[in-house]
C-alpha cells in the first residue's frame, strides 16, 4: 500500500498514528463554473508562517512529525492545493493537531486565491466561519 508519506515513517516504530489532510480545487465555489484558480502568496512570510503554525502544533500536542505542503500558481479543479501530515503515538493528538494546523493556515498564512470561472475572474472572499474555526483553539 502506498501512503505517500513512507519517508516520514522510514526507520521509525514510535509512530502509532498518521493523519493526513489534502485540500483540492473544486469546480464550484463563489460561482458554479470554476475553471481554474491562481494562488498568490507572499514569499518569505509564507514559509515563516507555515513553520510557526507547525511549531505551535508541536508545542500543544505530543507529535512525532509534522509536514505542511502548499502549492502556488495556476491550479485546475481536482488539483491538490494543500497537504498537512501529522504523526503521533496516538490518533487523538494527530487528529487534533491536523485540524488546528488547517484552521490556522486558512486564517494566518499569506495565500490568496483568484478564481477563474466561465463568468470571469475574481478574488475569493474570506469566510467568517474560518475565523470562528480558528477561534476555537484560543
Amino acid at each position: 500500500m502506498a501512503y505517500g508519506y513512507e519517508d516520514t515513517l522510514a526507520g521509525r516504530s514510535d509512530i502509532g498514528a498518521v493523519v493526513s489532510f489534502t485540500g483540492l480545487v473544486r469546480d464550484f465555489n463563489e460561482t458554479p463554473d470554476v475553471t481554474a484558480l491562481t494562488l498568490e502568496h507572499y514569499p518569505g512570510m509564507t514559509e515563516r508562517t507555515l513553520k510557526e503554525i507547525g511549531e505551535q502544533a508541536w508545542q500543544r500536542w505530543s507529535l512525532q512529525a509534522v509536514r505542511i505542503i502548499h502549492r502556488v500558481g495556476y491550479l485546475e479543479p481536482g488539483d491538490p492545493i494543500v497537504r498537512v501530515l501529522v504523526a503521533s503515538a496516538h490518533r487523538r493528538e494527530a487528529f487534533k493537531a491536523c485540524d488546528f494546523i488547517m484552521d490556522f493556515l486558512k486564517t494566518q498564512a499569506p495565500f490568496w486565491k483568484k478564481e477563474h470561472s466561465t463568468q470571469g475572474e475574481y478574488w475569493v472572499k474570506e469566510r467568517h466561519s474560518d475565523q470562528q474555526d480558528a477561534e476555537r483553539w484560543r
Binding site: G23, T35, A36, T38, L39, E40, H41, Y42, P43, G44, M45, E47, R48, K51, H70, V72, G73, Y74, I81, V82, M102, L105, K106, T107, Q108, A109, P110, F111, W112, K113, K114, H116, W123, V124, K125, E126
Partner: protein
C-alpha cells in the same frame, strides 16, 4: 515525451489515425499585427486602396485553415465543421488582434488549422496595408486553448497578475533597492494591489507624522488618494513579514506589506 511525427529512426512520419476514436476537437489560436496609428485609422475607416481589409483577411484565414494539409507536410486533410476568424482593432496598442477558432468531430487535433488561419489572416492584413506601411510586425502567434483528444485539454495561462510578489526566500526579507535617505519599502499584495493599482511604493521616514503603521498609512494617503483604502478595517499589515497592527513601529529599511484577508488552504 516523444515526437509523434518522427519514427524510431528519427525520420518524418505521418501518424496513422485510423484506430483513434472520433471526438469533438476544438482549438483557438491568436496573434496580432502591429502598425502605425495612421495605418490602423485608415484600416478601420475603410480608406485603404485595396478596399475592405478585414473581410478579405477573414476569407483568407478561413480558406487557409481548410488547406493546412497542403502547407504543413505531415498534417492530415480535415473536414472542418467550423472555422471562424475574428478581428479586434486595438487603438491603444496600435494593432489588430486576430483570433481563430477551428472545430471538427474527428481523429486529429485542429490546432495547426487555427494557427494557420491566424498566420494567413495576418499575412493578408499585411498585404492589404503594405502600400501605406511597410514597418508592420506580425507577432505573438500562439495556441490559446485546445479541447478533445487523448492528450487532453490545453489552456494557455494568462500572464496578467504576477503569481508571486517578490523574490524573498524562507526566513529572509527581500531587500530590493535601498533608498538614499531613511525610508520604508511598501508592498501591496493580491486583490489590494489590483484595487490600488500599485505593487510597491517607497516612503521616506521624514514624511511620517508618527513612525508607526498608522503614520505610514496617513503619509501614503497624502501621496495619493487611492491609498486611503488602506484604512479599511479588512486590510492587514506585516512588518518585515510579521503581522503587525496600527501601533507597530516602523524603522529605516523596513519592508511593510498591506494585503487583504488571506484565503489559502
Amino acid at each position: 515525451m516523444h515526437l509523434t511525427h518522427l519514427n524510431t529512426r528519427g525520420e518524418a512520419n505521418m501518424v496513422d489515425v485510423g484506430d483513434k476514436q472520433e471526438t469533438r476537437r476544438e482549438a483557438v489560436a491568436s496573434g496580432r499585427i502591429v502598425m502605425q496609428p495612421e495605418t490602423l485609422k485608415l484600416l478601420s475607416e475603410g480608406e485603404l486602396p485595396k478596399g475592405d481589409v478585414l473581410a478579405t483577411a477573414r476569407i483568407a484565414g478561413i480558406q487557409a485553415a481548410k488547406r493546412t494539409h497542403e502547407l504543413i507536410p505531415l498534417c492530415h486533410s480535415l473536414a472542418l465543421s467550423k472555422v471562424s476568424v475574428e478581428f479586434d482593432i486595438d487603438l491603444a496598442e496600435s494593432c489588430v488582434h486576430v483570433t481563430s477558432l477551428c472545430r471538427l468531430n474527428g481523429r486529429t487535433g485542429v490546432e495547426m488549422e487555427a494557427l494557420t488561419a491566424v498566420s494567413v489572416a495576418c499575412l493578408t492584413l499585411y498585404d492589404m496595408c503594405k502600400a501605406v506601411d511597410k514597418g508592420m510586425r506580425i507577432e505573438a502567434i500562439q495556441l490559446d486553448s485546445k479541447q478533445g483528444g487523448q492528450r487532453g485539454d490545453y489552456q494557455r495561462m494568462s500572464a496578467q497578475a504576477p503569481i508571486v510578489t517578490g523574490d524573498g526566500v524562507a526566513g529572509e526579507v527581500s531587500l530590493g533597492e535601498r533608498c538614499p535617505s531613511p525610508c520604508v519599502r511598501v508592498k501591496f499584495l493580491a486583490e489590494l494591489r489590483e484595487r490600488v493599482g500599485e505593487s510597491e511604493a517607497v516612503v521616506s521616514l521624514d514624511q511620517l507624522a508618527s513612525r508607526d503603521i498608522s503614520g505610514l498609512k496617513a503619509a501614503l494617503a497624502e501621496q495619493d488618494s487611492r491609498f486611503k483604502q488602506l484604512t479599511d478595517q479588512r486590510t492587514l499589515c506585516a512588518i518585515n513579514q510579521v503581522m503587525a497592527n496600527d501601533d507597530a513601529l516602523v524603522t529605516d529599511d523596513d519592508e511593510v506589506a498591506f494585503f487583504p484577508p488571506v484565503t489559502g488552504g
